[in-house]
Symmetry: C2
Subunit: 362 residues, 2 copies
Amino acid sequence: MTSHVRIVGTGLIGASLGMALTAAGFRVSLDDPSPTACRLARDLGAGMLATQLAPGDDPQLVVVAAPPDVVGAVVVDSLRRWPTAVVTDVASVKQTILDSVLASGLDAARYVGSHPMAGRERSGAAAARRDLFDGRAWVIVPHAQSSEEAVRAVREIAVVVGSAVRVMPAREHDEAVAAVSHVPQVAASVVAACLRDLPEPAVGLAGQGLRDVTRIAASDSRLWTQILAGNAAAVREVLVNVRAQLDEVVDALASLSAGEAEGALGTLSRLLEAGNLGQARIPGKHGAAPTAYAVVSVLVPDVPGSLARLLTDMGDAGINLEDMHLEHGLGQPFGVAYISVVPASAEPLAETLTGLGWRLHD
Amino acid sequence: MTSHVRIVGTGLIGASLGMALTAAGFRVSLDDPSPTACRLARDLGAGMLATQLAPGDDPQLVVVAAPPDVVGAVVVDSLRRWPTAVVTDVASVKQTILDSVLASGLDAARYVGSHPMAGRERSGAAAARRDLFDGRAWVIVPHAQSSEEAVRAVREIAVVVGSAVRVMPAREHDEAVAAVSHVPQVAASVVAACLRDLPEPAVGLAGQGLRDVTRIAASDSRLWTQILAGNAAAVREVLVNVRAQLDEVVDALASLSAGEAEGALGTLSRLLEAGNLGQARIPGKHGAAPTAYAVVSVLVPDVPGSLARLLTDMGDAGINLEDMHLEHGLGQPFGVAYISVVPASAEPLAETLTGLGWRLHD
């Protein structure tokens, strides 16, 4: 069992992990090239300063939470510095780090990569929170030489902070995140980039679809440059596929503009249907198979307390909502609450609410 | 003033408009190639059947709400059939319809295109709702020959159903929706299509970013084939720009894979920053300039009534929420409510909630 964890790098992930592990009773020591960042993490309850430890007070587990472009070097350095400790890292790309470890000639059995799939749009220790990992996936990435003990030590902290553990080899992990995370980021950024020079009235026609597609285009460009660069080969492979599909669409649209529709509609239709099929595979928020919730839409007057009344009425009826999203109209005196419930609850909910005087929007 | 409106095409948009106009006191008559669809719309309160009108009971305004690929022909037919009526349509692409009208040699002064920016993921009269247009943008598309009276008639119904009117020429409208609606649809579909053949564990790593980017990939492929085909030239132009940016990214990633990083990081970084800038231009839900709300995150036990208690507490404190989103963890016994409020309310809200025993997630 691990009792002393060293966290190297006290940004958002490192500081949050320190807070969670400290709360769970681990001794956590903190190290960061920036003494200020390190002290801030300490002040937030992420652990003690490594510089204040007694000589010989060595960690059993080292978690490297450094920026993506230095993680490999810091992991190798940590394996060298603590010759008996298990070392892991929390970077979002895994193969290049494993390659650095294997190339170092050091004892690779003590290294197991990991990737807690948690983050925020803000960065740094100031944005840290103890429950950042609660309910998130945490991918553990063993390799041919990693010891069972090392895997166990990493799994222990992932479970302690409330994550759902998944196990996956490095190459497979990197290909997966290329498709489910890195390429979507590129797509969102490219679509958003096309808005830069659009006339103001055109941007004014933006709706919820565009907002959703481009939400992550607001992400930190410095961090994402490193992430994309770190997973260059896998991201490129998916993007080449994306580009091939775009080529087909562009050609089909050119034919249609020229009045030659033969085959072109089929191309557009096939892409849209392929999108339907791919989208349907995405798991729901509970991480299980895609869950089709029923949505009940209710008009909610735009005054304090009315949404609370709505939810009190739902609670009184014993109906548990799975998700809720509130949408405001343009200058309208009410919003619409989209309430997701398990399908069997939709009709009783609609009846209950109508009976209590709520106006459904459906 | 218009008193009798004919709606040609009783799908989602036509039936919803009929319901809204009937509720506002207009006489609405309904026509559709499918007698069943037409009767369903009548039963839902969208108006009376056109087949039951007395001879000579002609509309002052005709709204064509037919599928995109037949709208032009139906508009021309309507101008011919009712020689004094104003004719409009509600299709999401405008130039090709205007071209049909101008080519017909009929009195183009009586035609004004329009585009209510409202829709749902479901289609057909069964999904219709009276308040579909409430608070949505409704673009009115005058042209060189359209009469002021025609523009006024279309504006009247847009305002009556609660929409916010925008006025824009056809070409400009089509270029705008290509960038803010049609290209995002293609991007979402292409990203989602890449998930089709992904191994199950890889799809299991999907997070909220992917869900947002691909949400609209679930849209009706038949409808969207027609929309993209109808705006082929404008969509193609934006997509060619998208492809040029992707080419740069693919080349940069290839250099990085080959170990030649010179210039490649700059390319990635420039794209991500351009995405930041474009995303920041998107207006907020209230349709005004982008509004930066402050978000207060609160842990909510996953039992009926607890969210209601939270919102009651907020209402008691007199704080009005602008938006709210609830997120569940993987198998965790609570969710996180992300509450958006005007920035000045964030601190008082956090203090109030903490004082009442709520655990903030921030």
